[in-house]
Amino acid sequence: MKPLLQVENLSLRYEMEKQNVLSSLNFKLNRGESVLLLGPSGSGKSTLTSCLNGLFPRELDGEMSGNVFVHGVENRETKPGERSQAVGVVFQDPETQFCMMTVEDEVAFGLENIGIAHQEMEEKIDSALALVNMLPYKKTDIATLSGGQKQKLALACILALKPELIILDEPTANLDPIATRDFISTLKDLKNNLNFGLIVIEHKLDGWTEITERVILLNQHGEIFHDGSIREVIKEKGQQLKEEGIWIPRVTEHILREHPYLQEPPLTVEEYRRNPVLLADREIDQPIKTESNTVPLLEAKDISWTVNKHEILHNISLTFHQGEFVAIVGANGSGKTSLSRMLAGLRQPTTGNLLVHGKPIKQWKESMLRQEIGYVFQNPEHQFITNTVYDEVAFSLQWKDMRPSQVQEKVEEILDTCGLLKLKHAHPFTLSQGQKRRLSVATMLIDNQSLLLLDEPTFGQDAHSNQELMKLLHKKHQTGATLIMITHDMDLIHDYATRVIIMKDGRVVEDCSPSELWKGDPEKLEAWQLTLPVAVQLKNIYEEEVNDVLTTT
């Protein structure tokens, strides 16, 4: 029997580039089989998607050689639009993959394209929505759905067409941990009931190993460097994975950090439960002593914010001292971003006061305030204002009384720390995701603000650039700066934060140190849509097991 998908010698080069994005790819996928396709950003993963679903070479500006067969039929031999029935794709960005207003219309869109009769549509829409548990949202406006719901809707749109191969292009990159878990478990159920081939394109592995253990690994040059079991790769090529910027499961990473020679490291928490090994408590760098008797850096007194009669923030009082590393967490729409904008003085609260160094924020001159408080936005591009990397960093110094030679020295020093010195003449928009992120942080570091707010800075970044970023932030924290970071990443909080603030429905519901939070009521965490960090989960399991052993003997 012919395999479902066969890729032969696939190479692709874009018109304006010298190097191939994909080089000589060869792989097969059988009916009903699943595979994880991993690679760092810029390894041509998304390009491959377009090759598989027949968009390329038709829509390609560049050259493509080699063949892609689905059921033995080459993509070039199909008519436009025909492939979409056999190969369905869920894309990374939940915001931009829809063209209709309501859920039902969006599912119908695909059915209309292939000319399904009007009478059959309703039933097909209902069954597709039911598959992903989205039936109650049938009449809902797409704009009001959460990111996780949008991705499930995208999946339903594809399922309605009954494809034999589903490609998920980083489907959870823009989702929080709970939504990610939910999406993966929905998919797992589907996989058990329906017989479709599945390709999951990802740069992090957590959760996906429950669906399949076959992985195809791409390197930065778009070549396959491994096709086989994930366990083999971790055993044989662990170092290479790290260099390529691919996240191995966090559980595995933690255990390998302590036991680098372990032969069969567990991939999930469940596997660890079966065979726990001792893990030492990791020392968290002691934060710089905060002197609570000095004037607090930033003080929010009873602030509320109401927009269009809709209360977004409700009576929030918080005090931030110098040297803290604060994490703000909470479900989407809980008011985290609004709070951070308010703390940065970008929005005025409806009631309540904000004091910076004990002085009301309204009495601060805008330019003085900006030298105290920096803010890193979620999308780095939003912050770029000049045409070169160098100017971008130097821009922040233009109001300072500095000699040109001093400016140059300082800019180059910062660029060097952020690993951007070689790119100083490049246009900010041409950088890679990770470089853009580092540049946006660099522009904030140079001013030496005492307070830096960050809105989910690790979002959509690969493992390597995330590490680089956290290194930078850690360094900044060590100099005594205060960092306030919005994040969904509990491991990050565990590793770096000195204080956690939990938001729910516009209120602060918890404000404590991370270790206190981990010890708290697990049900509460669930209600706040939070998970325990991997390190804590593993530690708890180990302690449980040891206790079991102690009580049974």
Partner: protein
């Protein structure tokens, strides 16, 4: 409500036909009566909220008043200057006043007809029905729909960029010129992200099998029914009555 249930394309065509009818009328009575008729139909069969309607209608009233004044003040020399009427204590040539009134009432009437359409029509349904009844190519129709989804996204994005640039210390613009320069600065990030988003949406649409081909089925089907004809007849009756009364009055 009745107006909401009508076929959007048919409604649009009917309204355009009556706007053309109005353009052929050069005396003030017909547009005045037909304006009253249109307003009555809008409120009786459309259930439009008065407050919202006034909010959108007021600018047209101001515009119409302005037009009235300018057309009287800058009118051509009348053929019969002795025939005057007295208005606000001044005597004005009757002919100019009537032409001016006709013009401004026509403006108001066109506005009322357009608002009747806007307030009772779902824009998405209008586009879908244009594809089905008026043979609008799907390529354009779905392009417009996708773009329509983008508008609120762009607005949010502009806000974020504004904040982000303020953080960088650029937004101390006081004069109009500086503000204009700031907006120019927003343009690159805004365009970059809009282009990228549009490209992604296009990819997603294509991978759902969209080819722009005209042979497609429709989940929401729009057809022309008896009620659509009733609507045209109601409007026609209104227009005829207005015209006849005006004819009677001379």
């Amino acid at each position: 409500m009745f107006l909401q249930r009508l076929n959007p394309s048919y409604k649009a065509v009917t309204i355009i036909v009556f706007i053309i009818f109005l353009a052929t009328i050069f005396e003030p009575v017909t547009p005045l009566l037909f304006l009253i008729w249109t307003l009555a139909v809008t409120f009786l069969f459309g259930g439009v909220s008065l407050k919202k309607y006034l909010l959108y209608f007021t600018p047209f009233i101001i515009f119409a008043l302005g037009m009235l004044w300018t057309s009287i003040a800058f009118a051509d020399t009348p053929n019969n200057p002795s025939d005057t009427i007295s208005l606000f204590g001044t005597s004005l040539p009757k002919e100019s006043v009537l032409t001016a009134l006709a013009l401004s009432l026509r403006v108001l009437n066109v506005a009322a007809l357009s608002l009747m359409f806007v307030f009772t029509t779902n824009i998405v349904h209008f586009i879908l029905s244009m594809m089905q009844q008026l043979k609008l190519p799907p390529r354009i129709a779905y392009g417009v729909l996708a773009g329509y989804r983008f508008l609120p996204m762009l607005k949010d994005e502009l806000m974020i960029i504004h904040d982000a640039h303020r953080i960088r210390g650029v937004n101390q613009a006081k004069t109009m010129r500086e503000k204009w320069q700031n907006y120019k600065r927003y343009l690159i990030p805004l365009l970059a992200s809009a282009i990228r988003k549009a490209e992604r949406t296009a990819m997603a649409m294509e991978s759902k099998g969209f080819t722009g081909d005209k042979s497609r089925s429709f989940y929401r089907q729009f057809s022309i029914q008896k009620q659509d004809f009733i609507f045209s007849i109601i409007m026609l009756i209104g227009f005829t009555i207005s015209y006849l009364i005006s004819y009677q009055l001379g």
